[in-house]
């Protein structure tokens, strides 16, 4: 087949297509967001789900129908979907199920640097780590094969540099003769009650033992012959940096890094005078090798922060722990000129509110010049955190606490927070603002259940925030256009802050970039 120049995310989408994936479900999150859109454009069946947990469940359901499924998310998305992962590891799958999870060492666009490899160990599912687009393509296909062969979910772990780097890919012919969807009743395998889960746990460990053996001999691991003086054990994109930083070294590159090909790695480490483990994020391989008795060197603690590059790998090899030059800060991102979020945060600032915030473009309001958001931890936390503050702060402070959440984030994980708000009502009530800009702006304007459009832009049901909020027994509900009705919006906010009741204000004005890109019409403020 003809070679192509593809970004890692495009290569994954093509790999999933060639593996015959029946459906992909996900929730956007940089750097994973492009995979489903590309898969859809290539002709695959794809959906944006309300959040990662639902996406993973949908994909599990698809795999229970005997066909191949995948789910995409960023690393923190797996926190949300982890409940599915841990027990799907027990139940196993009928077709195939691949969790495509993108880590963000260096925090290009995330709230933490968590390492997904730890999840593979904790849940007991195999994990593959590609280092460029060719491997992103190959390992995607391999992930489906391993999943189908051992009836186990498999994680394909990407990183920002793999997702968003372009490298050359030579695809292979697509898989043929795949199963068609059908349901086979298998209650002991699909219903995880204790009596079924006990043997399921043993089956899982048996599968992992077999996969570990397979990984030793047939796994996607790679050895590069080189000097006996220096051997580098490496995974992911760090391999590419290390090849350049240590051109004469010998290499052992782990493609499947859980379960590790431990015997082969120990053998390799013993075959060289100096064995150094190079990996991004946590010292996961280094710890595992040491625990198994390997004599290896690993990177000093300082290299656990941020991504690696050729220069940093050279420093690790040279035992250099001198302070690294701090790169100059560029111009930080800002809310677009004319962004409807700006008005909301100017008002909150003017009225001296304590803002329990959430994640989205509007989080930029926490930075100067606005500095008008006081907390932000994870998606949906604006509600719980705001309510917690209201419960214990002195009355005059409690009254100023406002929770602010974007529309996509509200659907993702604000609905349960709203249930909390109307159940455990704080003494001073509470005020919630839902910023409805008709899109998931932060990650590149994806659709969600509140936009009335599917991933492929076709129309569908649209979640009605006012109705949902009323159904949850919030007495004061209103919708305002912050640009057309600034005075009414401000009056409603002031009233809500005074009232000591529950109030939800829906601030409705489309993202100007979404309007420019797709011609999204400003929705009416009536419903």
């Amino acid at each position: 087949m003809e070679r192509k120049f593809l970004m890692g995310n495009e290569a994954v989408a093509l790999g999933a297509l060639h593996a015959g994936a029946a459906r992909g479900a996900g929730y956007p999150g940089t750097p994973s967001s492009e995979i489903l859109d590309v898969f859809n454009k290539l002709g695959g069946s794809a959906e944006w789900s309300p959040n990662e947990k639902v996406a993973a469940e949908v994909a599990l359901g698809v795999s229970f129908a005997g066909v191949r499924a995948f789910t995409t998310m960023k690393h923190v998305g797996l926190n949300v979907a982890s409940d599915v992962l841990f027990t799907a590891a027990y139940s196993g799958v009928d077709g195939a199920l691949v969790f495509i999870v993108a880590d963000d060492p260096g925090l290009a666009s995330s709230q933490n640097e968590q390492d997904t490899r730890r999840y593979a160990v904790a849940a007991g599912v195999p994990l593959l780590e590609p280092s460029d687009s060719q491997e992103a393509y190959e390992f995607t296909r391999l992930a489906f094969e391993v999943s189908e062969r051992w009836k186990i979910p498999v994680i394909l772990k990407l990183t920002t540099r793999v997702c968003h780097s372009g490298t050359i890919v030579t695809p292979r012919p697509a898989d043929t003769g795949l199963a068609t969807a059908h349901f086979e009743r298998n209650i002991p395998y699909h219903v995880m009650v204790p009596g079924h889960a006990r043997p399921a746990h043993r089956r899982l460990r048996q599968k992992l033992a077999e996969i570990a053996e397979w990984n030793e001999t047939e796994g996607p691991n790679q050895k590069v012959e080189g000097s006996e003086e220096l051997g580098i054990l490496v995974s992911g994109v760090a391999y590419q940096h290390a090849r350049e930083a240590g051109p004469d070294a010998s290499f052992f590159k782990a493609g499947m890094s859980y379960p590790l090909p431990m015997r082969s790695m120990l053998e390799f480490a013993a075959s060289v005078k100096r064995a150094v483990v190079i990996e991004e994020n946590d010292p996961y391989m280094a710890d595992a090798l040491r625990a198994a008795g390997g004599i290896i060197e690993s990177a000093p603690e300082m290299y656990r922060f941020g991504e690696l590059d050729v220069g940093r790998v050279k420093r690790i090899l040279a035992h250099d722990t001198s302070p690294e030059a701090v790169p100059p800060r560029g111009k930080p991102p800002q809310l677009c000129a004319g962004c409807p979020h700006t008005i909301t945060f100017e008002l909150l600032k003017k009225h001296n509110c304590i803002v329990a915030g959430d994640i989205g473009c509007y989080t930029l309001a926490a930075l100067l010049p606005l500095a008008a958001m006081d907390t932000q931890i994870c998606m949906g936390a604006s509600l719980g955190v705001g309510i917690g503050l209201r419960h214990v702060l002195p009355r005059d402070e409690a009254k100023r606490v406002v929770s602010v959440i974007g529309d996509s984030t509200f659907v993702h994980s604000g609905l349960t927070g709203l249930a909390e708000m109307t159940y455990n009502v704080p003494p001073t009530g509470h005020v919630l603002l839902i910023l409805d800009n008709s899109t998931t702006a932060m990650t590149g304007q994806q659709e969600h259940p509140g936009t009335g459009r599917l991933l492929d832009q076709s129309p569908t049901n649209r979640l009605d925030y006012e109705k949902v909020v009323r159904a949850m027994n919030v007495p004061n509900v209103g919708t305002f256009d912050p640009i057309k009705q600034p005075a009414e919006f401000e009056a409603a906010l002031v009233e809500a802050l005074e009232k000591e009741e529950l109030t939800v204000l829906i601030v409705r004005r489309p993202c100007i970039l979404a309007v420019a890109r797709k011609g999204v019409k400003p929705a009416s403020t009536q419903g």
Partner: protein, 160 residues
Amino acid sequence: MTDKVTSIKIAGLGGMGVLTSTQILAEVFFRQGLDVKKAEVHGMSQRGGSICSDVRIGQKVFSPMIPAGTIGYLILFQDDQFPLYEADCSPQTVIIRPSAIDAEKLENKKTLNMAMLGLLSRHLDAPTEAWLEVIHEVLPEKLHQVNDAAFELGRQSAGE
């Protein structure tokens, strides 16, 4: 370009066409049969913040990111971004600044990125047709004429 890797960094602010230019540059040399890698960061950087991307071209390229001190060409879409990348330059780095383009002659200010590519193309080993072919595939047809003109303006502009 034998076993040597040519590394080009394009830098500007979100919205200036850094990603589009990077895509075109990488595709042109991919089609010349060379190994090409590009690295860029998406997401937050779109909201008008500083943004840069790396393209590396050679017979065999490993890291997609340009190692410090090995930038061959630094293309700045905005002069004031230079301090961010200064430490990664070497005395051999060719720095191409927007002041090299006569902005008056640009029909549309948004095509500065194409003019900068035109300027860069004088230093690299690919014919004009190869560039235009890719530009025409990447951009919608109604933008071809104005971008072709910008590319040509850059190509005719003198050195730095």
